[in-house]
Amino acid sequence: MRRETKKKAGAGVLEVFRETGRFLKTAFGSLISIEFATVLLPLLALWELAPRLGWVPRTLVPPVSRVALTLWDLFAHQGFIGHIGISLGRFALGLGVALATALPLGVLMGWNVFFRKHSLPLFQLLAPVPPPAWVPITIVVLGVGLPMQTYLIFLGAFYPILFNTYQGVKDTDPRYLASARVFGASEWTLVRHVYIPHALGSVVMGIKIGIAMGLVMLIIAEMHGGRAGLGYLLLESKEYFQIDRMVACMVVLGAIGWFLIEVMKYVEAKLALWRVGR
């Protein structure tokens, strides 16, 4: 019995590795291609040459090599990993809260008209306020610190996830509902087995948009009174005229955003298998 579970665990770990391998292949596959190289390499060369040849002022646009060196220096000597970890931790917290609230709310609103009529107008009124406009009020109410940053990231990610989930659940094909109901499905079973699987495509898209907005709000939140994290580094580099450091932060931020979206795209591809068929 124990050997069986051990074997299963071993097989499970192997499967995880294989999945990761597949994921990395799809993620980097589109980047590492000859076609993209023909565009990327000239751009990198241009970036390197333009400051050196004086086409753009050296101090405002550092050449690629300088940025690479700064990146290396940041990682090796200045605890960049720590800052990245802090930023990612905050982001995960805010995104987690957004997922935990927006997903159930969206499902609830899409499933039941009574609930929708009572709650949707409120969200439709609040959603158009651009999240950066919430910053002053949030600082007054929550101070400056982790609650404020979590709240701002939550705000950024909440509305896209909510509305996309709601839309996806609402648009469930009534034929599936009818066929399940005829066989006696309760509403709860319908939600679990019909509404949610049918809406998964929209939900994943909502999460992707939520991640993008959440990252934006992460940077904005960290710029206001943070003492660590990528946003704070970005602001400090700007205040002290260290443009190469700023660009290094931008590169890392772009990489993080790209990676998160790739993960979501992979999840989406896995879920869509039943749609397309091999």
Binding site: P57, T59, L60, G143, F241, Q242
Partner: protein, 306 residues
């Protein structure tokens, strides 16, 4: 094809770099409004009254960080930038020169957050922002207030640069700040209270080197493209403005910033001086402003300033 488009965009972008700054006429001077701009206000008043021809055109900004970038981009010819940031700017960008400074007496002040109502002995358990644990300000403060019952062990000290102190106060990260004179005035202008003040402290430590202790803002300008003559005129105008009697300076600040005179009265006024070579080295400013040829005067004619 895409590369060609990008090159065109970049070229146009840099073409904007040295766009029409007139080589004659008033120097475009960027400043952040507030009590430290006293010399600017009075100089502008004097120019408008016809006592002097305008040597500069003031361009107000919201944050001194933007002044640095505007200077680099050529949108202004000179600007007042905070000391530490000016030092960073002069280090990383070539072609800039520091020519003057707004000074304010150093002094040590403990400013309490406006919503708190404490006395010195009530500071136990509170958070106080300091510039450094070995700062002379801190030592002076502790020495002066020992007999009032201030227990250094009971206070939480949070080190942070002077520039971050007032935002920390506003954001409630610190209950009180131990700051220098110039910043104390700004804090009081935002309705915080003073618990302790001592003007006899001079900076002479790692927190604040002696030469720069009293320098609040540095006047930075470009080495090329402005003209030594015009810069001299600018400095002279600001010095003249700064030489006005204290009550005139305070009145000008009060009118422009809407801070009431009763708040400004207890404090000294900011004054403007040219920088000593010692100070310039300390800041890392090398070189001088280049002379501009008379030939380069625009078709509007030259402003001859002597």
């Amino acid at each position: 094809m895409a590369t060609a488009v990008l090159t065109a965009v970049v070229a146009v972008g840099c073409g904007r770099q040295n766009h029409g700054h007139p080589k004659s006429g008033p120097v475009r001077l960027g400043y952040v409004g507030g009590p430290h701009a006293a010399a600017v206000y009075v100089a502008e008043e004097q120019a408008s009254r016809g006592e002097q021809a305008p040597a500069f055109a003031g361009v107000p900004f919201n944050a001194s960080g933007d002044i640095g970038y505007a200077l680099i981009a050529g949108e202004i010819d000179a600007g007042f930038i905070e000391t530490t940031k000016a030092a960073a700017l002069l280090r990383s960008v070539n072609g800039l020169v520091a020519v003057g400074a707004v000074t304010f007496p150093y002094g040590a002040t403990l400013v309490l957050r406006k919503d708190l109502d404490l006395r010195l002995d009530g500071l136990a358990g509170r958070t106080v922002a300091v510039a450094g644990r070995r700062c002379r300000l801190l030592h002076q403060f502790l020495a002066d207030t020992e007999r009032h019952g201030v227990d250094p062990a009971a206070i939480t000290l949070v080190p942070m640069p002077f520039d971050h102190m007032i935002p920390a106060l506003e954001a409630r990260k610190a209950d009180a700040i131990l700051t220098r004179g110039g910043h104390a005035l700004l804090a009081v202008a935002q309705n915080h209270k003073i618990l302790y003040q001592n003007w006899d402290v001079t900076g002479d430590d790692d927190c604040c080197p002696k030469t720069l202790a009293q320098v609040e803002l540095v006047l930075v300008t470009r080495a090329k493209g402005v003209g030594a003559r015009r810069v001299k005129a600018l400095v002279a105008a600001l010095e003249a403005g700064s030489a006005a009697p204290a009550n005139i300076l305070r009145a000008a600040v009060s009118v422009r910033t809407r801070i009431s005179l009763s708040v400004l009265e207890p404090f000294p006024v900011a004054s403007f001086t040219a920088l000593t070579p010692e100070q310039q080295t300390e800041l890392g400013s090398a070189g001088t402003v280049e002379e501009e040829d008379d030939h380069d005067c625009g078709h509007e004619g030259c402003n001859h300033k002597h």
